[in-house]
């Protein structure tokens, strides 16, 4: 069974000559970009300092100092060579991998340039990137669960907002009665439950009443925005003790957190980041290597065939949508219980929609979406760093990047995504 599922998950990849050429030019353009924007504006003899120890960490690591201009030249040359090879021979099925590499080189060049004649804390940047990526990844996983089963869920934003509000409210109530730690877990549990309940409404509307799934999702988004703001204005702002759940403290993994650089970045975080990795692995295995996942995906690809084989399409979809809502609720709780420690109106600020974008960017796969979330989180964390480095790029432009990138991916410039075939179509039993 497991091997069968693995075979199914492997897609036939064909790189068209046109795409090969487009990608070759993209690589060359990035190489030219490094030269045009970075190298020309850097004075000779200037060096960049990357600090590798995040603030507050006791394991000191020496700074990484290198001459800026030569390093940038090397980066540009590598990118150009890769672009030339892509145009001449092509990387075939590894094209996307090489695209990732070239983009990484470009970003690295950008950071080196931005920190020229100064220093940048790379470890700190990675740490914030990871933290900013958490809610986006949860949103993406929520989307994957439901869309793989053929139900479009644009209500992730609303579910996350509800999770955040309920997490703060129930966490505070729990704290008043059962103490700090228990309160946090009560808040988290309630956020998950309410996310699931909201998703169940989405399920009933779109599966039972066959309402258009986008309309149903819009209903939930409007409802959640209104309801959370209503409760916040009516109770949370009035009674401050109902809006102070506290936050989950960082857990230092024994031994692992002592690894230089990697330790402080990955193994010194709160429960949300570990849960995110756990869920990513579980979701990946669950979707592609178990009977459960095979059934879920078959319902999303060809519900009629699945029904013929005796899979209960409705029940599978209800289950998937509910799990999707629970995942979004968990991610929403991060805002209040994992990061801020208080609920503010509309505090998710579109992270659910970025999660949706990350899902598309990551081709409806857990780890692909995680990569996309990291990219989006990086853009998010970079804009706060740029202000410090006094780089003259408006932060708003940087914040637009994830959205533009998603549209480019959706347009098929980097290769068409593989969307579940029955995504968005209500199932009618005959």
């Amino acid at each position: 069974m497991a091997t069968q599922a693995a075979t199914l998950s492997r897609r036939v990849e064909y790189i068209s000559p046109r795409r090969q050429r487009v990608m070759g030019f993209v690589f060359l353009a990035l190489a030219a970009g490094i030269w045009l924007f970075f190298i020309r504006t850097v004075d000779a003899g200037v060096s960049t300092t990357f600090r590798l120890t995040p603030g507050g960490s006791d394991i000191q690591l020496a700074d990484w100092v290198f001459a800026t201009a030569p390093a940038l030249n090397i980066l540009a040359i590598i990118s150009a060579v890769l672009g030339g090879y892509q145009l001449a021979r092509g990387f075939g099925r590894n094209t996307n991998l090489v695209l990732g590499l070239v983009s990484f080189l470009f970003m690295f060049g950008f950071l080196a340039w931005a920190a020229a004649d100064g220093s940048l804390n790379i470890a700190g940047l990675l740490r914030t990137t990871l933290q900013k990526a958490v809610p986006i990844t949860f949103g993406a996983m929520s989307g994957i669960l439901s869309e793989r089963a053929g139900v479009v869920n644009i209500a992730i934003e609303g579910m996350m907002l509800t999770g955040a509000m309920i997490g703060a409210l129930m966490g505070s109530v729990g704290r008043l009665y059962f103490g700090d730690t228990a309160g946090l877990w009560i808040g988290l549990g309630s956020a998950v439950i309410f996310g699931g309940l909201l998703a169940l409404i989405h399920g009933v509307l779109s599966i039972k009443y066959k309402t258009d799934q986008i309309i149903s999702g819009t209903v939930i988004n409007i409802f959640a925005t209104g309801m959370t703001s209503f409760i916040s204005a009516k109770f949370l702002q009035k009674y401050q003790e109902l809006n102070s759940p506290g936050i989950f403290q960082s857990i230092e993994f024994p031994l692992l957190s002592k690894i230089p650089f990697i330790g402080p970045v990955f193994f010194d975080n709160n429960v949300f980041i570990f849960a995110m990795f756990l869920f990513l692995i579980l979701l990946h295995i669950g979707l592609f290597f178990t009977r459960w996942g095979l059934r879920l995906r078959s319902v999303g690809e060809h519900p009629k065939a699945a029904d013929t084989l005796g899979i209960n399409v409705f029940r599978t979809r209800y289950m998937a949508v509910t799990l999707s809502g629970m995942m979004a609720g968990f991610g929403g709780a991060y805002f209040t219980l994992g990061s801020v420690g208080r609920f503010d109106e509309v505090m998710t600020a579109g992270r659910g929609f970025i999660g949706l974008a990350a899902m598309i960017f990551g081709n409806w796969s857990p780890f692909g979406s995680f990569g996309a979330s990291l990219l989006f989180g990086f853009a998010d964390s970079l804009q706060s760093k740029l202000a410090i480095l006094s780089v003259n790029i408006p932060s708003e432009i940087l914040l637009m990047a994830p959205y533009i990138a998603t549209m480019v991916v959706l347009a098929g410039v980097i290769g068409r995504g593989h969307m579940p075939a029955a995504d968005g179509q209500p199932y009618e039993k005959e």
């Binding site: 479009v152 644009i154 509307l205 009443y209 066959k210 309402t211 258009d212 986008i214 309309i215 149903s216 819009t218 209903v219 939930i220 988004n221 409007i222 409802f223 925005t225 209104g226 309801m227 703001s229 209503f230 409760i231 204005a233 009516k234 109770f235 579109g350 929609f353 949706l356 974008a357 598309i360 408006p394 708003e396 432009i397 914040l399 637009m400 959205y403 533009i404 998603t406 549209m407 959706l410 347009a411 098929g412 969307m419 075939a421 029955a422 995504d423 968005g424 179509q425 209500p426």
Partner: protein, 423 residues
């Protein structure tokens, strides 16, 4: 569309007397079970549930419940009733005050007494434009979630024409600024339309992304090129006097001719959709793309044009607010008109007349809610909750039919557009 056909049938009927009787009967039966009754019941149910939420979130209900449950229930009902009254007086005005003002015959007091009603019309105006935008998209089978972003871009391009061009007479300046707003919105609609038509990228995702790009763009513009030089805040300069939409009454009534322009556009959209060949093509592509393709219609072109027109209408919603009410552009100047428009377009069955009625309802609700917040202490956000529930019931008529035991429809006319991402 169904309503339209019915009207045509009704006008043909008077030829024979007997059939008229029959047709009228059928017409009313259809009315009760079909397209008109469902939205009305959806609205009533949504409003009632809103009152229930108000009652359930009244603290006194819980503090008095232990002593006397009856008293507690009465307290809750009283709170709900008080908020309905506040909603009504906030949206339309206090009838007693109106009568007293007219009897006294004092101009300013009359204006004050009637101000809530006109303010509601002011609030309805952007809803009409944005609702028409979403409805036009629906008719072409397109889901324009991006009305909010298009509205922002329209406001940006329009406000620039409003303040940067000087010395024009209002007759030229106002239409020019409106046109610029429509053009900005149309551009923002064109991009997802083009991507949909040429690459198949789904317009829902693309318009969501375009929304956020528009928000960031407006932040950037208001901190940079469009910023008022003498202000520390991200706000644009005031528009020229010649670009302001004329107000029809003196202060405090802000009612301006934008409302009539909006009604004019509602008529224009109706005429375009139902009386022109272009509109016919658009509706055919929306109803059945395959049939449209076999009939030789250019689906690519229709999709692009429909999204651009939709965006243009949304852009008008934005610039109308700027020219008529705010007279400048500030951050987050629209609080979700574009998103609410989705609900009201569905409520109005994507028919311009229905959109206008839905927009009036939403405008009155929004304006009344301000008063409700002030006098009854109910947060304004309850309106969004009500709107969401109204939309849910309007979009899932089966729920309303079950609650009110209505007859199921003869044919399956439900489901305005049920299509997946692939579309």
């Amino acid at each position: 569309m169904a309503e339209e056909e019915k009207k045509e049938n009704a006008s043909e009927v008077p030829k024979e007397q007997e059939e008229k009787q029959n047709a009228t009967q059928i017409f009313f039966e259809e009315l009760m079970s079909g397209p008109v009754m469902i939205p009305i019941l959806a609205i009533i149910t949504g409003l009632l549930l809103g009152g229930l939420i108000v009652a359930l979130t009244t603290e006194e209900v819980y503090t008095t419940f232990a002593q006397s449950p009856v008293q507690a229930i009465l307290t809750g009902l009283n709170a709900a009733w008080k908020s309905y009254v506040a909603l009504f007086t906030g949206a339309i005005g206090d009838p007693a005050r109106m009568i007293a003002a007219i009897q006294a015959g004092e101009g300013e007091e009359i204006r004050r007494a009637f101000n809530p009603f006109f303010e509601s019309l002011v609030q309805s105006t952007p809803y009409i434009f944005a609702g028409l935008a979403v409805a036009l998209g629906f008719r072409a089978g397109l889901f324009n979630i991006g009305a909010e972003g298009q509205l922002f871009v329209g406001a940006m391009t329009g406000v620039w024409v409003g303040f940067a061009i000087k010395g024009l007479p209002p007759v030229i300046h106002i239409p020019l600024a409106l046109l610029a707003g429509a053009a900005g919105g149309a551009l923002w609609g064109f991009i997802p339309g083009f991507l949909k038509a040429r690459t198949g990228g789904h317009e829902v995702i693309n318009t969501i992304m375009m929304n956020y790009i528009a928000f960031r763009l407006s932040e950037f513009m208001l901190r940079g090129p469009l910023k008022r030089p003498e202000s520390a805040n991200p706000v644009s300069p005031l528009i020229e006097e010649s670009a302001k939409l004329p107000r029809l009454f003196e202060d405090p009534i802000r009612f301006h001719i934008g409302f009539f322009i909006a009604l004019g556009f509602a008529w224009l959209v109706w005429w375009f959709l139902f009386r022109t060949r272009w509109g016919f093509d658009l509706r055919t592509v929306g109803a059945n793309p395959n049939a449209a393709r076999y009939a030789g219609m250019n689906i690519t072109l229709v999709t692009i044009v429909a999204m651009s027109l939709s965006g243009g209408l949304a852009g008008l919603a934005g610039i109308n607010e700027v020219l008529g009410v705010n007279h400048n552009l500030a951050l987050a100047f629209s609080s979700g008109y574009g998103f609410d428009a989705i609900a009201l377009a569905l409520l109005g069955k994507s028919h311009p007349a229905g959109v206008v009625l839905g927009a009036l309802l939403f405008g009155f609700l929004r304006n009344g809610a301000v008063q409700m917040q002030l006098t009854a202490g109910i947060p304004i956000d309850i309106i969004q909750v009500m709107q969401a529930m109204i939309l849910a019931f309007a979009a899932a008529p089966a729920i309303i039919r079950t609650i009110y035991r209505l007859r199921p429809p003869k044919e399956a006319e439900e489901g305005l557009l049920v299509r997946g991402w692939g579309g």
